[in-house]
Amino acid sequence: MSYNNIIPEEVARFILHHIDSVAQMEAILLLRSNPVKEWSVEELAKRLYISEEQTEGVVSSLCARGIFVAILTGPPRYRYEPASKELDEMIERVAEVYSKHLVPVTNLIHSKPATRVQEFADAFKLRKDK
């Protein structure tokens, strides 16, 4: 798996496994630029130029991946808080590659298939190393 020498392999792997859309990428970068600020869905949707429905999908999947935390004491707000230092470091690398090579990274994100259905076929592989 070599991605034309522009995107390092671990970064490419992280993007393929954890980032489903450019909107998600932009959301990560936006919240990361100000890690103390807590964002509401409306604010985020406005900044990202996407619908609130789409924004909710983005933040909930990023929370599930341990990149954002949700503050649920009132109306839900979200903050950048990666679950581990390694995650934070990897995201920093991703952000750097993204800022320098926008087109290859967006192409990589868009090359992901829309469904996981390949995993159905993969389940029939008898050996554990898939």
Partner: protein, 104 residues
């Protein structure tokens, strides 16, 4: 009641076969093609059974065809485990097939 169920199962099998056909188109993995044909065959088999005068008669032909459809599934599994020949269509173009970051 039996005929209704038979027809419903037949239809559901055909629809499942259609979905698996779609998965084959989406992923290029021939595994799904085998599954698709298997479900299509079983769907048509059940339709044919429903058209007989006594579906519960137990004519061997229908069970033989079901046997074949399961064989097809086993072939799919064997094929998946035996090698890299699982792709019937070329994979979609990815970043790996582009050079130097330039979009084609």
């Amino acid at each position: 009641m039996d005929l209704v169920l038979l027809g419903a199962i037949a239809m559901a099998s055909l629809v499942a076969g259609l979905f698996f056909l779609r998965f084959w188109k989406d992923t290029g993995d021939r595994f799904f093609l085998y599954f698709s044909i298997s479900f299509f065959v079983e769907g048509l088999n059940r339709f044919a059974l429903a058209l007989t005068s006594d579906p519960n008669e137990g004519r061997p032909l229908f069970y033989f065809i079901r046997f074949l459809s399961f064989l097809l599934i086993l072939v799919a599994i064997i094929h998946k485990n035996l090698g890299k020949s699982a792709r019937a269509k070329p994979p979609v173009e990815t970043v790996a097939t582009r050079r130097g970051g330039m979009v084609k």
